[in-house]
Amino acid sequence: MATAIQFRDVSYSIGGRDILSHLDFSIERGETLVLLGRSGSGKSTALKLVNGMLRPTSGEVQVDGRSTRQWDPIQLKRRIGYVIQHIGLFPHLSVRRNIAVVPELEGWPAGRIAERVAELLESVGLPEAEFAQRYPRQLSGGQQQRVGVARALAVDPPILLFDEPFGALDPITRVDLQNQFLALRHRMEKTSLFVTHDIREALRVGTRIALLHEGRLDTIELASEFPQASTLAARQFLACLE
């Protein structure tokens, strides 16, 4: 398996405060690596280092073998889909237009965009006829996040970043969307980096789990082996399962 994303001795600090210290790990093509950690552990910051929204203070993050410093910032972001907890749909655009934003920026012909929007809405379980013309405010939280996922997938980026995407949803909707995520992953060959503070979610969606504790990499294990992890921080998380 080839490496899609590599953290090489990455540190990030802001205002004299260290958020991340000496992160060293890689994400293989096609896997879903979950970044698990408590609030303030630096996991969202780690995501933003991947798509170039933040630059490491020292060390480097490589995407497809190239440092994020060498990537054209726009090109890098277009290769990477990004889904956040607060969704961030554009409230002045219909569902269809929201999903079409990046294809339009990429200059796709209108026919191809229309096909792609229909296909994506179908794949996230929102029938086009019913949902394409609606505005974000006319959707439930779960439906909005489905659109958020469809939007991130719009130009078929090889890498996806998820920042606690289902954190604000009720537990039933959350499980529903986790299943949808797993189904999508089966169908598409994507490399995903998935941030969560929920150990159950981590075990469900991850192929591997990296536990961040106070800005450091505490444990990195296959999801199937994570329950045997022995560090203090890992055991605290595992205790939540009982």
Partner: protein
């Protein structure tokens, strides 16, 4: 006599509209870009909003008086009036542009950045459409206020509906005052209603 008065009225109303239209247009052309810049730079924001606020506190007659001796922009007549009216109209437009941009959900900005939008794409496709109703409310405020303030233009030979009012005040003639005041009030109401309608049409939510 009657047709004379009507012609007079139409001419001064037209002058009034020109004064207001020109001043508000200049304020929009200066105020919106300045507001966009202020939304990004905290220092610039402090200075520009401070400047525009100070301008608002100067009584209009005094501002006209101050401007008359200023070279290039001063003197007697339309130019001085337009400069003064622009200085007044700037604050609501500038401030509402800043407020409108500030009020945008940070998650919306974050997704726009993460999608790989350039600054100008983000401004045109996301920020300005979302701030538009607030900016338009500022333009509406500025327009209505300028229609009123422009009546003072006549004091320094700028023409407009104020001509009737000053003439009426000078000759203690209420009919003359009303001949200026009523059309000015109607203009203000029409502008307010029209701009409110556009505001509703533009509102994305």
């Amino acid at each position: 006599m009657r047709s004379d008065l009507l012609a007079d009225l139409l001419q001064h109303t037209w002058e009034h509209l020109l004064l207001v239209g020109l001043s508000v247009t200049v304020s929009i052309l200066a105020g919106i870009p300045a507001g966009i810049a202020c939304a990004r730079h905290a220092t610039l924001r402090r200075w520009l909003l401070g400047f525009a606020s100070v301008m608002q506190t100067i009584p209009s007659l005094a501002l006209f008086g101050f401007l008359i001796p200023v070279p290039w922009i001063g003197g007697i007549g339309t130019r001085t009036v337009v400069v003064a009216l622009v200085l007044y109209a700037l604050l609501p437009i500038l401030r509402n542009t800043v407020v409108g941009l500030d009020g945008i959900d940070p998650a919306v900005r974050e997704s726009a950045v993460a999608m790989g939008m350039t600054d100008s794409q983000m401004l045109r496709q996301v920020l300005l459409p979302l701030a538009a109703p607030t900016i338009l409310a500022g333009i509406r405020l500025a327009t209505v206020a300028t229609i009123g303030t422009a009546t003072i233009a006549a004091a320094i030979g700028g023409g407009g509906l104020g001509v009737f009012i000053f003439r009426g005040v000078g000759t203690v003639d209420s009919a003359q005052i009303l001949a200026g005041a009523i059309p000015a009030a109607i203009l203000a109401l029409v502008a307010d209603g029209g701009l409110a309608w556009i505001e509703r049409r533009l509102s994305p939510l």
